[in-house]
């Protein structure tokens, strides 16, 4: 269990984190989402021991990031947003480098490198300089360097930025595999569909505050707001007002009502009787992205 206890951090007059208090279950995959400058990276830097001046504490499996910093660092694998690899060296050299930084050596290190290269799908390219690698390959190696020492907690800060769908799929498979092997994952991303797909719990952070958190099901249920979506050329709002509150968009009409499923049945019956064939008629479920906008607003956040 990771217990975040009253974490606050100031940069001059700016409060980057404001009394964060929550917990992350062991062997879970926790998604941390928020707009730019919300405080995600500051939180991650505190957790992995890069920032050591802050208020509050984090207990990682009963060890304090303040008092037992080295022990906590040994059980965490950090995948930063930037690709932190030595460009002039080979994949094997990079893994050796990070393995040694975590205290691995000899046969154990060589075995771990072999296993990790297979996990990240780079066994064939082990002895190639990474300056020749694609963005996706570098991202996978970036993860490889963080899991070499078999950490029980893996912190991933936007690990899929700027890569192709195949590499993204490969990274998701790797995260699932790590979760099955018993690791606790903390995953930060701007891609809401990714978080919804791979995380089982989620926390929304905005302006340094945790504005919502819970299991994915709890959060989605709490903010559930199913609607009916219908699209047809020439259709006007007045034809639909009998079914609920209608909102017209460029693509079609959203109808908010108390019981969308039954209402949709009534609509289908009505359309059939009147020979109306809509181009699209579907139930529109609330997605994580909708909740994100609900909680953080639509205003642009450009302050890094």
């Amino acid at each position: 269990m990771i217990n975040v206890q009253g974490i606050s951090k100031r940069y001059g007059s700016i409060k980057a984190l404001n009394d964060l208090d929550f917990s992350i279950n062991e062997r879970s995959c926790f998604g941390l989402v928020g707009p730019n400058g919300a405080g995600k990276s500051t939180f991650m830097k505190i957790l992995v021991g890069v920032i050591d001046r802050f208020d509050g504490d984090i207990q990682v499996f009963n060890q304090s990031v303040k008092k037992d910093q080295l022990a906590v660092k040994r059980c965490i694998g950090y995948v930063p947003q930037d690709i932190c690899l030595e460009e002039t060296l080979t994949a094997n050299d990079n893994l050796t480098y990070f393995g040694r930084l975590y205290g691995l050596s000899g046969e154990h290190l060589r075995n771990r490198i072999r296993v990790v290269l297979e996990q990240i799908g780079l066994s064939e390219r082990a002895h190639d300089k990474i300056s020749k690698f694609s963005g996706g390959m570098k991202r996978r190696l970036n993860i490889g360097c963080a899991i070499l020492h078999e950490p029980s907690v893996i912190v991933l800060d936007e690990p899929t930025v700027g890569i192709d769908p195949q590499s993204r799929h490969s990274i998701f498979s790797l995260i699932s595999e790590l979760k099955e092997l018993g690791s606790t994952i903390i995953y930060s991303s701007h891609y809401m569909e990714e978080v919804e797909q791979i995380c089982d719990s989620v926390g929304f952070i905005d302006k340094g505050k945790l504005v919502e958190h819970g299991t994915m099901k709890q959060v989605l249920d709490k903010h559930r707001n199913a609607a009916i979506f219908v699209a047809k050329d020439g259709m006007v709002t007045e034809e639909l007002t009998a079914y609920g509150d209608v909102m017209q968009t460029d693509a079609g009409f959203f109808i908010n009502c108390a019981d969308p499923l039954s209402t949709m049945g009534i609509m289908i019956e009505h359309f059939r009787e009147n020979g109306i064939t809509p181009e699209r008629l579907e139930l529109s479920q609330t997605r994580l992205e909708d909740i994100f906008f609900q909680l953080t607003g639509l205003r642009l956040r450009d302050n890094g």
Binding site: S41, I51, L70, K73, R74, Y78, C84, R100, L101
Partner: protein
Amino acid sequence: MWAITLTELKKNAQDKGLWFWTFILPIVFIVGFIAIFSGGEEMDTQALVTQIVPGYTVMFSFFIMISIVIAFVKERDGGMVARIASTPLPINRYFIGKWIPFMLIVIIQIIVLFSFGVLVYDLPLGDPLSLIVLSFVLAFLSTSWGMAMAVLVKTENMGIALTQIIALGGAMLGGLWMPLDMMPAFIQATAKFLPQFWALDGYKNILLEGGTIMDIWLSILILLSFGLIGAIIAFVSYPRFLRQSKS
């Protein structure tokens, strides 16, 4: 710590710019300036060689600061500093691990340039122990200033500009380019406040007068003191540097 040292050595061995600043350019300067000055009658050949070879060796040893600044700024801006800070490696070991390769490079540079002087210009070497001790102290000084500058500067360009001022300004005022007695009195007085002067003074004492450790103790003490100032600034400023690092 050794993982950092070995990786840094591997990276530096592949850095063509470092080869140029460290070995090629100094040799070109030594050859060029000995050719220019050997035409005059002011200095005999041995005096010329014992001025130019150690003088330019001292001057170019300070150019290691450029490589140190580039290495640190790149790692700070690329997120590597924060990444390494997330590992269990203590900060001081990271720092020393990065430092050792640059010190080794300066020592190799001194060996190469002095060997070139011996082979091509018959440079006298003097007491080997004194030479080794003075060279280690010089390497400590130039790299500790490089480490201090690396953690203080905001950009690579700022570091490169300051290195030029320290290396070229110190060389000019410290008497590395020509014997101090050929320069105005105020420069001769200023030179005594510069480590470059004391490094060259130590080398000349060993090469020309057969000086031993006891004869160059003041040079060693002054260079060590300057080096310690750089090292203390570097260690004290490192936490701030870490806070500036991208993650």
